[in-house]
Amino acid sequence: MKIIAQAFERAVAILELHRDLLDETASRLMAIRF
């Protein structure tokens, strides 16, 4: 596999594994009023 595609697939795999953390943190960020 090409080098960048390989790194991207790795990032996707990690995020899919930690989807709960991704959703929770993004929701907390969006909830902040500034």
């Binding site: 090409k2 990032a11 995020l15 953390l21 943190t25 960020l29 969006m30």
Partner: protein, 175 residues
């Protein structure tokens, strides 16, 4: 009247230097705000899951500077001067965390994901053309990092290329 400087003051000063002035008047619509939030959040789980010495210090979706709609501050716990091939691959994966998050959540990419892709492409190209980290292209330095006045490239790589069309094609294929 402030009579002391606290840690928060230093943090604000660093953020201002690194990312620019806060632009709270730069209003994002709810969809864009959501995209920026997921994009910036995407870096953290990838960075934390990979081995290494870099930790995620702060994630923000307050626009700053000329074009940044959000930013993530990562802090290395020690100075490093060398990187292994595995560490470079980890760094590339971490830099692609924002793009990966956009693809997973929105099933499409935004223009905000372009900057990290440029950084990743530079790392990958350097690994192949300068560090000889591709088996098919052998242990050859195809490019050097010669710099001209004030860090500007000495000449355009297209006109100063020291390798064949075939090699250029192989480099493109490896990326």
């Amino acid at each position: 009247m402030i009579d002391s400087v606290v840690l928060e003051d230093f943090t604000q000063a660093i953020e201002r230097l690194v990312a620019g002035l806060q632009k709270k008047n730069r209003l994002l619509n709810p969809y864009e705000r959501r995209v920026v939030a997921f994009h910036e959040t995407g870096y953290a789980p990838v960075r934390l899951a990979l081995p290494g010495i870099v930790t995620v210090h702060k994630i923000s979706i307050i626009p700053r500077g000329i074009g940044a709609l959000g930013y993530t501050i990562q802090r290395p716990s020690e100075d490093r001067y060398l990187m292994t091939q595995a560490e470079l691959l980890d760094k590339m994966a971490a830099l692609l965390g924002g793009r990966a998050a956009e693809v997973i959540v929105f099933e499409e990419l935004s223009t905000g994901a372009a900057d990290s892709l440029a950084k990743v492409t530079n790392i990958a190209r350097s690994m192949i053309t300068r560090c000889g980290e591709n088996e098919e292209l052998r242990q050859v330095a195809y490019e050097s990092d010669r710099e001209g006045y004030l860090g500007q490239p000495l000449s355009h790589p297209f006109f100063d290329r020291s390798y064949s069309e075939q090699t250029a094609w192989q480099i493109d294929e490896a990326l």
